[in-house]
């Protein structure tokens, strides 16, 4: 299975869904800042991996799938749940990559912010793609076996 880009999928989202994600992202970032101020950087660090955005993305994916199925004359709830579940399986791999992101920040921090952020972002991307490929291979192996 190849990774591809589909710009037409942007039209599935309504304008207010983009606004909602922007607001949620802004509020989550302000919230983590307040937690750090109130309880210290260690507790604040935990909340850097808080699933605030995932709630919105999984709900939107389910809603889009239901809308698509309804337009085709089907009920769509089950398919919507399956699409959201697939998204959460992907998020599980993304969060493992996020662990490596944080570990890389920790390792590269003495080299300065540019090196640390670019390096950790590269590690997150490489790890997420590698884990996704591993999962695909594992599932293909299971189907054959």
């Amino acid at each position: 299975m190849k990774v591809s880009l589909s710009f037409s999928s942007l039209s599935n989202s309504r304008w207010y869904e983009y606004v909602a994600r922007f607001l949620l992202g802004g509020v989550a970032t302000v919230f983590t800042g307040l937690v750090s101020q109130q309880f210290g950087p260690a507790v604040g660090g935990l909340f850097l991996a808080m699933p605030a955005i995932f709630c919105a993305s999984a709900t939107l994916i389910e809603r889009h799938e239901i809308r698509r199925k309804r337009e085709a004359g089907l009920e769509g709830h089950r398919r919507g749940q399956a699409a959201a579940a697939l998204d959460s399986a992907g998020a599980m791999l993304g969060s493992l990559a996020m662990m490596l992101f944080a570990a890389t920040i920790l390792t590269l921090a003495p080299s300065g912010p540019v090196v640390a952020f670019l390096g950790s972002l590269a590690v997150w991307t490489i790890a997420a793609v590698a884990l996704w490929n591993l999962r695909l291979k594992y599932r293909a192996h299971q189907r054959r076996g």
Partner: protein, 116 residues
Amino acid sequence: MSESVIRFLVGGSLVSLFAIIGDIVRPKSFAGLFGAAPSVALATLGIAWSQHGVAYVEIQARTMILGAIALAVYSAVVCWLLMRCRIRALPATIGAFAVWLAVAFCLYLPMGAGGP
């Protein structure tokens, strides 16, 4: 501009950017990776670095590893709730937040007692 406004704008922009990338990539399981993209972390750590310095960022990055482990458990629980219990996405993702909190603090409390 106040610090909160800057946080809000930077966080909102980075989250939107990763969300748009997640929208346009296919297949769906690959797009799901972006549901756990470090967008809030990039914004928060960037601001923390400029305000408090490297030592503060190192403390946050260390406990973020624990938060990310909790996020992996949370994602697995959400997947299970959706597929096995047939709960809708919104209640499943909000309800499972208790699991994230429990796992994150169960991992943090034993090591956090001696920390800052």
